[in-house]
Amino acid sequence: MARESMEYDVVIIGGGPSGLSTAIKLKQLDPNLNVCLLEKASEIGAHILSGNVFETRALDELLPNWKELNSPIKTKVSKEKFLFLGKRKSLSWPTWLLPKVQQNHNNYIISLANLCRWLAEQAETLGVEIFPGFPASEILYNEDGSVKGVATQDMGIDKEGNQKDSFEPGIELLGKVTVFAEGCRGHLGKQLIEKFNLSKNKDPQQYGIGFKEIWEIEDKNHEEGMVMHTAGWPLDNNTYGGSFVYHAENKQVFLGYVIGLDYKNPYLSPYDEFQRFKTHPAIKKIVEGGKRISYGARALIEGGLQSLPQMFMPGALLVGCDAGTLNMPKIKGSHTAMKSGMIAAETIFENIKENKNLSIYEEKFKKSWVYEELHAARNVKPSFSWGLMLGIIFTGIDQILFKGKLPFTLKHKHADHETLKPANEMSKIDYPKYDNVITFDKTSSVYLTGTNHAENQPVHLKLKDPNLPISYTLEKFDEPAQRYCPAGVYEVQKENDQNKFVINSQNCIHCKTCDIKEPSQNITWVTPEGSGGPKYGNM
């Protein structure tokens, strides 16, 4: 059955900050452009998860009157803390001794999901057509090899791949320019980077996994506007990561943990590190007596400038973290993602109106403040490959004394899937039992995400070699998927004395960690049926 097709000037894939900013800027430049935006979640915001302490720089440029437009940006940062955690103790680091990039007094504590919902309203008012519930599952190419657009996922396919009665074929959305704004490790962006060799001469991309919980806490423990970060315990000196604790409005605290996916020990469980972190006396006293109301996780970009691929190709652009514009030392990616989208819009406008080549995107990007920021930030993350202490000392010199202007660039040496050591060389980690008060098991956490995938559809986590998890990965690495997945999708079960690898794909919260960390790159994340996945509220 032939698919229907629809033509637009610009087709945008993904309703996060970068995609929505691209859409808004395009319509501001020319209200007559036909712009559509596809989002795989059931509504804009439902797959968005972020800390988030928001720097308004890009938004000030995009919608200067945002304060008058009832935006969900309300809680100004009023106090900052940085703690080094030991097992029981904590050491407070004076904020004036923090590099400038980690100071937040002009920023706001926000829910990025709510910001995206609001940006989507602004975009729709300007005439952008937004289609939630429609994942782009396939890239379409012209005969000359340039990107022609995307096709949405067929709906109503059963487990075996047959059409059900409710079958609804996908449709082709064709654009003069297609913008990929899927976020970190977008499954189409990944294909484009490979096909057009966009990462040539770049370092391998670096990733982290970020967890977030929202707690409603007791009045006496709540300090609206307070931003706290920690480093140290429970991670060892060789594992990159840290926490955030943001006191938002309505007595809520956004509590989270980020761990670099370049960790070495296959027994490490990022989820359990996060749970254990909450038992530290300095953290426990904040959430004690409170109630956990949300949970979620998402992979994020940590590679910075060295790993940033070329962002243009014939017929298409990559924006935001589909390319990787997050500023790691700043622990912020929303403002850079938005700005990258705005620059993309300017590029497309000139491409369509003046027939300029899309390669001007790179020049414009290099002249922007995003590039300046990422350039100054570039040496921080790689320095932590020497361990926490040396990383901090180097970062102090690099960021405070030299303001990111040291005349050399450190490299990222390995991709994250290459860093695991064989299980027999590493020691098991004994994580404490969950108390169901401060710490919780994965099942009850996943329940809070509201994730769901319609029954009887093909498994959207594809194994290149279905035997590999048991024949190799279990043997060599004790199958780390059981631990790095934050949603309990992967299990090794015993059946008649035989080990069996089970994929509970309906639990998936679309974080993409498996696609990144699987040591043989054996797992590929593809889009499930539209509207599947988490239903995040104010994450």
Binding site: N114, S166, I293
Partner: protein, 249 residues
């Protein structure tokens, strides 16, 4: 033949419901909302009947705040011809909804009114029955199969004892069960087309219906947490515990 289908906007069935701290209701801010699931079955059935040539028009109607229009738009995207949105704020009880629907029926003169058997938010299961009484029309509730015959409907009902087949005269009210059919997906081109279909808006007060609640809600609470189970070592201990602790025998 005209079919009127009533749809309601409710919290999505995948969302974990959270009770407001002050006990005045449940949290709906930034919560994903959807069409009440059995209402989707009602729309699907109406569209199917139209596709079979036995109906000429399907009208979707909803009662609620501005955003409730989304449910009508969704119905239009899966095949309804036009929509009506009766604006009303706050909690609107089944009696108010049925009075509003009565007015709409008097105006639109449909031959059939379909709706879900109940809404998953308040679980009232009253609107269809009340509308039937107000209009003095026959009703078939919990329908899992509907067959349109000349001036009549044959309906299979899902009841406690099993399945019951009844025949009723039209015009009639039918409330739909989830087993009735499998609702179709809204395709992208149809969502686009739905944006151009008309939705007539009016206020509940324009219809002369007072939507003020008749029931005073005192408090909304979470159900008590279940205690962990225990293992007993003997039948005697079980009986003793049922008698003295659980006090059920």
């Amino acid at each position: 033949m005209k079919i009127l289908v009533a749809v309601k906007r409710v919290i999505d069935y995948n969302v974990q419901i959270r009770v407001k701290e002050d006990g005045t209701g449940v949290v709906t801010d930034n919560v994903k909302m959807s069409t009440n699931p059995p209402d989707d079955n009602a729309i699907e059935e109406a569209v199917k009947i139209k596709e079979s040539g036995k109906a000429t028009e399907v009208i979707a109607v909803t009662v609620g705040e501005e955003k409730a229009q989304e449910t009508v738009r969704k119905a239009l995207a899966v095949g309804a011809d036009r929509g009506i949105h009766v604006k009303a704020e706050g909690i609107i009880e089944p009696i108010a909804v049925s009075k509003i629907l009565q007015k709409i029926v008097e105006k639109e003169k449909p031959d059939l009114v379909f709706m879900g058997k109940q809404a998953i938010d308040d679980d009232c299961n009253q609107t269809g029955q009340m509308l039937s009484a107000l209009l003095n029309w026959p009703q078939a509730t919990f329908a899992s199969k509907i067959e349109v015959k000349d001036g009549k409907l044959e309906v299979i009902r899902e009841i406690d004892e099993g399945l019951e087949t009844i025949e009723i005269n039209t015009p009639a009210i039918v409330t739909c069960d989830l087993r009735l059919n499998e609702p179709r997906y809204a395709s992208l081109p149809n969502i686009m087309k739905a944006k151009k279909k008309p939705i007539e808006q009016m206020n509940a007060s324009d219809l002369g219906v007072d939507t003020a609640p008749k029931i005073q809600q005192i408090k909304v609470e979470e159900p008590p947490k279940r205690k962990a189970g225990i293992k007993v070592s003997s039948v005697a201990e079980l009986v003793q515990k049922l008698k003295n602790e659980a006090k059920v025998i």
